[in-house]
């Protein structure tokens, strides 16, 4: 299996050449022979007594110590992979992760597990512990992308029979992306042995991919093209395009037709993708703006420090994660859940302090709240810079917020999905508080007519303070979510303040539903413009549209209408 990982393009070129020079027969036989030999090797490796094979493997692994550069290492990797022994999975995987070390003293190769200053050394084949070493006493075997790819391809073939279906699926995916005629035989064997229908289908697709780059007869290739065409995703398209470029006749035509089909399906999915991206951008805008919909929309405070509340929430997340990393690493997946109430509290308390200390003296002078909160925002920003330093802080994604899954041809990333769910939950909660609780009622009464509300026995100063704290706290929990997709730096808030104001004003001040609809429509419009106009121009167009829209409806999308407003 020494030559398994040849790049597809190269191979195609080669096969095209051989066809042209009328020596296809010989080449075919060569490949067949090689494949047979590999099969034999594969079988032998399984039949021979384990000890003998292990000794051979150790001899090959020992060669890593002498490999001076990447290509030397690559040779060793290929040699190791060629044994076809499943045991080589451990050292190869370790190498890909950069965990394979050479002990300087005796040039022995180990898998290392880092722990503080020393490294725990494990046997590369058995995985048993075999000592420790200081970092200075061992050298890491360097890997680069090319090497990682070679290892991945090699592991792909080796893991076709792995117990875990997920590993088999990964192997199928790798083999699909790196088709090679030599893969056909092991895949055939694997397909025969496979019981899981899902995995089997993937194996068959991988086999089809390999058939396309082999010298199999045209009929086989046409069947393969229809199988791959049915898969219909971007990888299939990628493969078909290269087949299209490197073949003639019926195969080329079939590939053209199939890739045309895929292209048109993908175009359809593209529209869906834009909508999804728009919704996801909308959820970010909603989160950023929703706190402002309270402090600005409901209370009428032009709160320029709103962005800083978001930032405080993000920094709370950072601090929580730091504590967890240092003291309770097992809780990392819970870090955001823990950070949520804390971020709410921190931002709410700061908000409360701002309201009691500054804003309460300015009710009825809304434009002056702009100046004061602008000052507050400068102070908060610089305070955070002084305490935490000006650089970005690391906030990690918990495992349930990492990666993505596919819906049809649409890749949906978990963090975006959770942020969407989260933003809608926050919105619903806020709506409930405003509309269904006595506190919400008092808030709305105070906002409508502070003096009259006081005469109804409502403690207006408290309602003011708590409302502002609520808005700030909501901004704080928005910060927890935004820390997952953006920088956590003192400038975090500045990036959101203008967008937030746009959303609230576009939706209609004082109307939570307006904020919701405003956020999502701005998000979607933006994402539909972006592929055509580019990110910069798209944003400009959105701003201009907002300006024009406000001319048409000077009170925003959901303007409060009717007799009620004039009363």
């Amino acid at each position: 299996m020494a030559k398994t990982a040849k790049r597809p393009g190269e191979f195609l070129l080669q096969s095209a050449r051989t066809q042209n020079s009328n020596s296809s027969g010989i080449a075919e036989r060569m490949i067949l022979l090689r494949a047979l030999g590999l099969m034999l090797l594969f079988l032998l490796a399984n039949l021979l007594p384990a000890n003998a094979a292990e000794a051979d493997l150790r001899a090959i692994i020992a060669k890593f110590a002498a490999a001076a550069n990447f290509s030397a290492t690559e040779t060793v990797v290929r040699e190791l992979a060629a044994t076809g022994d499943p045991l080589v999975e451990r050292p190869l995987a370790a190498l890909a992760e950069g965990d394979l070390y050479v002990r300087k003293a005796d040039s022995l190769v180990f898998v290392g597990r880092e722990g503080g200053d020393s490294v725990e050394l494990l046997d590369p084949l058995s995985g048993e512990k075999s000592g420790e070493a200081a970092k200075g006493d061992i050298t890491k075997i360097k890997v680069n992308n090319t090497l990682r790819r070679v290892i991945r391809d090699a592991l792909g073939t080796l893991t076709l029979r792995a117990k875990d279906p997920a590993v088999r699926i990964a192997a199928a995916a790798t083999m699909f992306k790196t088709p090679d005629a030599a893969n056909i035989e092991p895949l055939d064997a694997a397909i025969a042995a496979e019981t899981d229908a899902n995995v089997k289908a993937l194996f068959e697709q991988a086999r089809a991919a390999s058939v396309l780059v082999s010298d199999r007869p045209e009929a086989d290739k046409l069947a393969a093209i229809s199988l791959i065409g049915a898969r219909g995703d971007r990888d299939a398209l990628s493969l078909l395009t290269s087949v299209e470029a490197n073949s003639q006749g019926a195969v080329k035509d079939a590939a053209t037709a199939a890739s045309g089909n895929i292209n048109s399906t993908l175009a359809f999915w593209d529209a869906g993708q834009n909508i999804w991206y728009g919704i996801s951008l909308g959820s970010v805008l909603l989160l950023a703006a929703i706190g402002l919909a309270i402090t600005f929309g409901v209370m009428g405070v032009i709160n320029m420090a709103h962005g800083e509340m978001v930032m405080l929430g993000a920094y709370t997340t950072f601090v929580v994660q730091e504590v967890i990393r240092n003291s309770f690493p097992g809780l990392f997946d819970w870090s955001l859940v823990i950070a949520l109430p804390l971020a709410f509290l921190v931002a709410a308390l700061v908000g409360l302090a701002i309201e009691r200390g500054v804003i309460r003296f300015l009710y009825g002078r809304p434009l002056e709240t702009l100046l004061a909160t602008w000052g507050v925002s400068l102070i908060l920003q610089q305070a955070v810079r002084t305490i935490f330093g000006p650089t970005n802080q690391e906030v990690g994604n918990p495992s349930w917020m990492s990666g993505s899954f596919d819906v049809g041809q649409l890749a949906i990333t978990w963090n975006r999905l959770w942020i969407l769910v989260f933003s809608l939950c926050v919105f619903a909660l806020l709506l409930y508080v405003m509309k269904r609780t006595p506190w919400g009622l008092q808030m709305r009464a105070v906002t409508a007519n502070r003096r009259m509300a006081a005469s109804m026995g409502i403690k207006t100063p408290w309602v003011d303070a708590l409302t502002f704290a609520l808005g700030s706290g909501i901004a704080g929990i928005a910060g927890v979510a935004l820390s997952q997709i953006d920088n956590v730096s003192p400038n975090l808030g500045r990036g959101y303040i203008i967008d937030s104001f746009m959303v609230v004003v576009f939706g209609g001040v004082g109307n939570l539903w307006g904020t919701l609809v405003g956020a999502f429509s701005l998000g979607i419009v933006n994402k539909f413009l972006e592929p055509y106009a580019g990110a910069v121009l798209g944003k400009i167009v959105v701003l201009v549209l907002i300006i024009l829209f406000i001319q048409k409806r000077p009170r925003g999308l959901f303007a409060l209408k009717g007799r009620a407003v004039e009363a």
């Binding site: 009622l441 006081a454 005469s455 009363a567």
Partner: protein
């Protein structure tokens, strides 16, 4: 029950009240009459706590209120129906009524039955926005809202202003009911003479920031009293 003594109020350099003294007792309707701009509204707003007196004092049930905020006065039992009604326009009728729950204990947080008996129209309109009601309905809502607070003293500032006669009659009936059945002290500011004469147990007449006459409702027919009221 309510005792205003020697109240003086300045708006900057201008003086709105000049040593006003006034009493309102439980189970009685006390009416304040006077021409435009003589300080009636200023007096009412001082009582409920919207203005702070320059000097003098307001006592309620024997306790001085001068230092307490409007919401504390409301909590001690003073309900206010302001001129122009000032209902919360964007809140529904039900929410307007429920805004009176704030000073109540949790157990008492319900709308007393007599509110809907007195103003049946409110029951039909519970889901409407306050601002969408007609002027008369709004006035009824404002009084109903004040009653939710279970007040001991109800301060009404020109409840008949700009309202059709049939509703004025309803309002009059309601005020009388509150005095007779609930034993509430009612302090009423009016320009509408007949309304006052029909209802009031005692009238106070104001002119230029002062109380110039105090007496029973029948006094209103006296010429020397009338002269303060003609324009």
């Amino acid at each position: 029950m309510l005792e205003v003594s020697n109240a003086t109020l300045h708006y900057g350099a201008a003086q709105a009240l000049r040593g006003v003294s006034l009493k309102a007792g439980a189970g009685k309707i006390t009416c304040v009459l006077g021409r435009n701009g003589v300080g009636k509204t200023s007096l009412m707003r001082s009582i409920v706590g919207h203005h702070r007196l320059t000097s003098g004092s307001v006592a309620f049930e024997g306790k001085a209120l001068d230092r307490s905020a409007a919401y504390d006065r409301a909590r001690s039992g003073i309900a206010f129906v302001p001129q122009g009604r000032e209902i919360f326009p964007l809140l529904s009728v039900r929410e307007n009524l429920e805004s009176g729950f704030a000073p109540l204990k949790r157990a008492d947080r319900n709308i007393p039955g007599h509110v809907f008996e007195l103003f049946p129209v409110l029951k039909q309109m519970l889901a409407r926005r306050g601002g969408d009601l007609s002027g008369g309905q709004q006035q009824q809502l404002a009084i109903g809202r004040a009653l939710v607070m279970r007040p001991k003293l109800l301060v009404l500032d020109e409840p008949t202003e700009g309202i059709q006669p049939s509703i004025i009659k309803d309002i009059g009936r309601a005020i009388r009911y509150l005095r007779d059945q609930a034993g509430i002290a009612v302090l009423l500011v009016e320009q509408y003479l007949d309304f006052c004469r029909e209802l009031a147990d005692e009238v106070n007449i104001m002119d230029r920031g002062q109380i110039v006459h105090t007496g029973p409702a029948e006094d209103l027919d006296r010429a020397d009293v009338r002269k303060f009221l003609t324009v």
